[in-house]
């Protein structure tokens, strides 16, 4: 035992003996190897994430255009952003899209998870098919659907004399967002199915046996047994998908490019406009507003989970 390598506590004890060691133990209380493992990560993280975030926050209070000098102009960017219809519309679209897509994804994924967990033929094969979109690039999937929704569907609808789809919905400023909901859900549903399936297999079959002994029919079993036990998984899915949908960018760029007009321009796309027209500091203010909204939803969702007794 005498030849033991230094554990972190022993190292700390030894360091405390000299005056220099006291200072060292306050700053670096553990074995140096542990510090070598964590300090580079902290430094890189600070440099690449926190520093730009702070810098951006400061810029949002200036008239910076992306280069040259700038001066402090207080809340002017924020006031202008709140009054800007382009920015307001982008929030309107993004929130409407995120809420709708979140509901669609959860409802469809839960139904499919139930079906894929039931006694169907070729269950393995069907699961493979339904999981596939998960690994595909959202942008490229959008390009494929641009052609299907924009060209193929109107031709088919024309042949069938089905008026609502005879012209591309992506070219209609009131309906284009539905196309984006469809494609974003198409990409997001597989991941949600996997989480629901994990929830379904965690429900012991005894619970269903007990329910059927008590005379519950299939719908009652779902309502009283499956749904309550799946609720934590429903929360996980809601948080994961809502967070992703708020940052929507690939799919709007691929499907509509933000159009027609600016009807489907997401918040992310609006922020990136800060590279043009000297709107750098202005869009940084927009980014900060977006950050606060994201934070609000994140905290809200986390507290919901806590109350439900779910784990993060």
């Amino acid at each position: 035992m005498a030849a033991t390598a230094l554990s972190s506590r022993q190292a700390a004890d030894r360091a405390r003996r000299s005056p220099l060691g006291v200072v060292k133990s306050l700053l670096f209380p553990v074995a140096p190897a542990y510090l070598l493992m964590i300090i580079p990560a902290i430094l890189l993280f600070t440099f690449f994430i926190i520093y730009p975030a702070v810098q951006g926050a400061i810029w949002s209070f200036t008239n910076y255009v992306g280069y040259g000098t700038s001066k402090f102009i207080g809340l002017a960017n924020y006031k202008a952003a709140f009054a800007d219809p382009t920015i307001r519309d982008s929030y309107g679209f993004t929130l409407l899209f995120a809420v709708t897509a979140c509901i669609v994804t959860n409802v469809v994924a839960m139904s499919l998870a139930l079906a894929l967990n039931a006694r169907i033929k070729w269950r393995t094969g069907f699961r493979t098919i339904f999981f596939m979109p998960m690994v595909l690039s959202g942008l490229i999937v959008s390009y494929i659907f641009t052609f299907i929704i924009g060209t193929s569907v109107p031709i088919i609808a024309g042949a069938l004399h089905f008026a609502p789809l005879e012209s591309s919905i992506l070219a209609n400023e009131h309906l284009a967002w539905l196309g984006i909901v469809f494609v974003a859900s198409w990409v997001a549903i597989p991941g949600a199915i996997i989480i629901f399936l994990a929830g379904l297999v965690s429900i012991p079959s005894e619970v269903y046996e007990a329910a059927s002994i008590d005379g519950a029919n299939a719908w009652q079993a779902f309502q009283k047994v499956t749904f309550p036990l799946l609720f934590p998984f429903f929360m996980i899915n809601t948080i994961l998908s809502f967070k992703a949908f708020l940052n929507v960018y690939d799919i709007t760029v691929g499907l509509t490019g933000g159009g027609p007009g600016t009807a489907t321009t997401s918040v992310a796309q609006t922020i990136f406009n800060g590279f043009f027209n000297g709107d750098y500091a202005y869009q940084m203010a927009n980014a900060m507003i977006f950050f606060v909204i994201t934070l609000f939803f994140a905290v809200f969702q986390l507290s919901m989970m806590r109350r439900r007794g779910g784990s993060l």
């Binding site: 554990s7 580079p40 990560a41 902290i42 993280f45 069907f126 942008l139 690939d250 784990s311």
Partner: protein, 297 residues
Amino acid sequence: MAAQVTVAPTAAQQVGIQRRGPMREGIRVNWGLTIVVAIVSLVILVPLYFAIAMALKSPAQTGTGTGFTFPWPIQWGNFRAAWDLTDFPMAFSMSLLVTVIAVAGEILVSSVAAWSIVRNWGHWQFKATFVYLMLALFIPFPVVALPQVKLTAAIGLDNPFGVAILHIMFQLAFNVLLFSAYIRGIPAELEESARIDGCTTFQVFRRIVLPLLAPMAATVGIFAFLQSWNDFMMPQLITANPKWQTLPVIQYLFQDQFTTNFNVAFASYLMALLPTLVVFLIAQRWVVSGIMRGSIK
């Protein structure tokens, strides 16, 4: 936390793909539901068929049709044309470069950091570090994109290396969370006995801890692979030189040229989609169980 770590893999196995062959006798197949599922699966299969059919046709064969007609005779030349037009080998290499660095970096940086934090949890500095790193969970890329583009350009990282580093940094919080939950389930006694045998801290990590982390490393690696390969937002904004762009961004950059020949465009899309699809079909069980472990945390 420990309970989750042990429960998740078994759940994953049950959902996994191991159920081969005919079902046990005595369990009736629900044919009605099977037909419904088959019809719904067309929502996935038809667009994929469409993409393949389009990629194998000539513009004349597409004509003013819907694009759903069966491609005959097959135009393999579309792939050659797309390959040359977009310089596919270059874009593929860039995607591969970003993905390999991101996967290796995410596993290495976050596992080491998580272990260091968990094993020194008694010190407030490490608790504070953990909370500090978790801040990133609340910072989506669009919020810091503008300053980050300037920053990476200023230090010469407006290239695939910069993209890979940012991928590692943005995922750090989530990955440290995954790894630290997992490490808390590993008894410290194992490591103590290795120390008694004379291992240094680094050796303990490499010989004892790292092998035990394999399942969680697989999860982190799968997430990293899918995210880095398919990412569009970050490379598009960070990488300045269009020649160094990854596959998804290349599809975006060539949209204007693609409008003259949609069939070449679809050939190009398919080639960009193929790598993740192939990996998924080969390693489906790991991918599914990995995603499950990561999400149910």
